[in-house]
Amino acid sequence: MKKILIVDDERDIVETLAFMLKAKGFECICAYDGEEGLKLAKECSPDLIILDVMMPKINGYKICRLLKYDSKYKNIPIIMVTARSQEEDKEIGEETGADEYITKPFEFNDIVEAINRYIK
């Protein structure tokens, strides 16, 4: 079973997303702030990470950069999710090495499609 790490300080988002992904047959690990997310990313070696941008402690861009510049973790696909949708933000996301960039509010199908692109 493929393992997905969801990092977002919005508990409701994490829970609904986890519920739906479980129904699609994924194993989900949840983190509710950046620090916990980074820790779990390193400990649990997930197959994919869904990462919020604005979070307490460590923001999403930083986590993304830390993981993508570390040879041990750089192969884990990262999907950035954010309420900010300006182009410049998207560019920052791409610079930090995120694989996908999705704007809130998102349709569940968009997320599943994105996941399927990286996990076959």
Binding site: D12, I13, T16, A23, A83, Q86, E88, P105
Partner: protein, 673 residues
């Protein structure tokens, strides 16, 4: 008493004349012996009248010499001529008296010539006065045109002082100038260095005079003489001299600088020579003239400050909208997710009714997120953060896509959405996504306001500049030029009253009537549409008739180099990129500068665009760092080795400051859309 010099040998004859004249309240002396001595004697003695005895040797040469030497002094040269004798140099003299001399004739002749001399002097004096007045008038005239040309307070004061100096050539001036927030400054303009005590005395004096102007009434400005800042300007001079308290004995002129009730300051001038009546008039008119532009300058300053405040406020508002919208989006995500989970049946079977209601909730979530998206767009447009992805594109696929999308939605109301594209559409330079947004906005509006069984027509065609019906344009296209694509959305809806048409383009507006309450939307769509079209150098027009329908048409310029360039500059200005514009004035004497710039500078950035109009050559360099700019400037100068080239090429950079933006806009205006 008039002074007379008699040129003659010492004789009974000359003694007689001297005696006669001395007795008639004149002073008369006999000349020296040699002609050289006589000339220097005239210079020293400066006689009013020179009497030359024609029996004297060299009298002809002397007459000519004396006359030419004393022309400035209007000295009268008279000859003593033997009765019955004629001489040919008579016309060099001013008159003659025959000998033997009759006493009364001599005295009378002398007196008449004294009068002539005085009249001539008066005439000369009048001429000088006239010339001076003319000069003053000229300066006054120049001053008034200079005053009209500036809104800078300091410059205005300087112009005033300069013209006062030209017309009145004062020795020292002191001026008290009131500032915006009560602080006052004291200016001293002086020929020589004033002593400390003089400075204090001048300040005190001006202060007292100012207070005297108002007697017992309250002062418009309170001045603090103790802590006043003294700004001193001394003329560079090679003469070592100072001005001390003695200057206060000089003649002085004083005047307040004011317009009606508005007070700007007071000024006082000192001059060693007395001021004439004309000087006073001149002084008053210059001081009076400066007051009006000063008033304008003050108003201008106030307006500028208000504008800055307003700009800040506008930014604050936009930021607020942007932050709030971001916050609103976040909770929408779990709502949407939850609804999807329930709908998917994973939480248990749901009834058909429940399914309908949850679908309704989902529809409204997407509507809400649409509204938030609109709000965000609007705040981005206003703060210039909206990012346009311009490219050369054809709008046909977009039009077809929109027609298909709306065809499906319109089924419920049985409205026919048709598309008609006349001929093949030429390419445009546009952000396809934004154009699609505009068309969708218009079609969805039409759909909202068209009752059942109506129809919506989308018509696209190419029009010439002359075919644009400017009367119905909402905001005019800066300058209509060339070809445009016209896309019309024509419905059979409720229509809009003519007077309401401009209102629908305002933010958050829907025309108040009972019908529209049933129709959703916060009324941002058209306002965004207008902004998006502005960015594309396009425009929108509306023709509508109540209960018959509306025609919303918009115009997008057909691909055109100049317009592309302007859109690129506009875009660069509003985006966060560091952008530079290179403006090169191609002047025939250094025609190859453009070539050098092309070679040297454009290498620095791959995305550069060029545009040429007459002798102005513009290069847009997006994403240019300061160091690259410095390098450019340096290479231009290096390459040329001529300082005047610096003036030919101006590199302007878009920085975060508004000022730079304005500079660039000025250049834009030059490009002349």
């Amino acid at each position: 008493m008039s002074k007379i010099l008699l040129i003659s040998e010492l004789s009974e004859f000359s003694k007689d004349i001297i005696y006669t004249l001395t007795n008639s309240e004149s002073e008369c002396i006999l000349s020296e012996k040699t002609p050289e001595n006589i000339l220097s004697q005239i210079e020293l003695y400066n006689p009013d009248i020179v009497l030359i005895d024609t029996k004297y040797n060299d009298c002809e040469i002397l007459t000519k010499q004396i006359k030419s030497k004393t022309i400035q002094q209007n000295t009268q040269v008279l000859l003593l001529l033997e009765k019955g004798k004629d001489i040919d140099f008579l016309n060099f003299a001013d008159g003659f008296v025959t000998t033997p001399v009759c006493k009364n004739i001599l005295i009378h002749t002398i007196n008449s010539h004294i009068k002539i001399k005085k009249s001539l002097e008066q005439l000369n004096e009048n001429n000088r006065e006239l010339a001076r007045s003319l000069y003053q008038l000229n300066v006054l005239y120049n001053t008034s045109s200079q005053f009209a040309g500036t809104l800078d307070k300091n410059k205005l004061y300087n112009i005033m002082l300069e013209s006062l100096e030209k017309t009145l050539s004062f020795d020292i001036s002191s001026a008290l100038v009131f500032g915006m927030e009560g602080e006052s400054k004291f200016y001293i303009n002086s020929l020589y260095e004033p002593t400390e005590s003089l400075k204090k005395a001048l300040a005190l004096r001006v202060g007292l005079e100012y207070k005297n102007l108002f007697e017992n009434q309250p002062l418009p400005y309170n001045i603090n003489l103790e802590g006043m800042e003294i700004i001193q300007n001394v003329k560079p001079s090679h003469i070592q001299n100072i001005f001390d308290l003695r200057i206060l004995n000089y003649d002085s002129l004083f005047a307040p600088i004011k317009v009606g009730e508005h007070f700007f300051g007071v000024i006082e001038l000192f001059r060693s020579t007395p001021f004439t009546k004309e000087d006073v008039t001149c002084f008053q008119s210059i001081v009076h003239q400066v007051a009006l532009p000063l008033r304008s300058a003050t108003l201008y300053e106030e307006i500028k400050n208000t504008n800055i405040k307003l700009e800040k406020l506008e930014r604050l508002k936009s930021d607020f909208v942007s932050i709030v919208s971001h916050e609103l989006r976040t909770p929408l995500t779990p709502i949407n997710n939850s609804l999807e989970i329930v709908l998917s049946g994973q939480t248990g079977e749901i009834s058909q009714d429940a399914r309908n209601f949850i679908n309704m909730a989902k529809r409204n979530v997407s509507r809400l997120s649409g509204i938030i998206e609109d709000l965000l767009d609007l705040s981005r447009v206003q703060t210039g953060k909206l990012d346009f992805k311009y490219k050369i594109t054809n709008l046909t696929p977009s039009l077809e896509l929109i027609q298909k999308t709306f065809e499906q939605v319109s089924g419920e109301k049985n409205i026919n959405v048709s598309l008609e594209i006349k001929n093949n559409l030429p390419d445009v330079y546009a952000d396809t996504h934004r154009i699609e947004q505009i068309i969708s906005n218009l079609v969805s509006n039409a759909l909202k306001f068209t009752p059942k069984d109506g129809s919506i027509k989308i018509i696209a065609k190419t029009v010439e500049e002359g075919e644009i019906d400017t009367e119905n344009l909402i905001s005019p296209i800066q300058k209509i030029q060339g070809k445009y694509i016209k896309i019309s959305v024509i419905d059979t809806g409720i229509g809009i009253k003519k007077e309401n048409i401009p209102k629908i383009f305002e933010k958050f507006s829907q025309i108040e009537n009972s019908l529209t309450r049933n129709i959703g939307g916060v009324g941002l769509g058209l306002s965004i549409t207008k902004e998006l079209l502005d960015a594309h150098l396009g425009a929108i027009s509306v023709i509508s008739e109540e209960n018959k329908g509306s025609d919303f048409s918009f115009f997008i310029p057909v691909l055109d180099d100049k317009k592309i360039f302007i859109m690129d500059i506009n875009h660069a200005l509003s985006s966060s990129e560091e952008t530079a514009i290179l403006h090169i004035k191609e002047n025939p004497s250094c025609g190859f500068i453009v070539h050098i710039c092309e070679q040297k500078l454009i290498k620095l950035t791959k995305k550069s665009k060029e545009y040429k109009k007459d002798n102005d050559y513009f290069v847009l360099l997006p994403d240019t760092s300061q160091s690259a700019l410095d390098f450019m400037q340096k290479s231009i100068i290096q390459e040329s080795q001529k300082p005047e080239w610096e003036k030919c090429a101006i590199v302007l950079k878009k920085a975060s400051s508004n000022q730079d933006g304005k500079e660039l806009l000025k250049i834009l205006n030059k490009i002349d859309l």
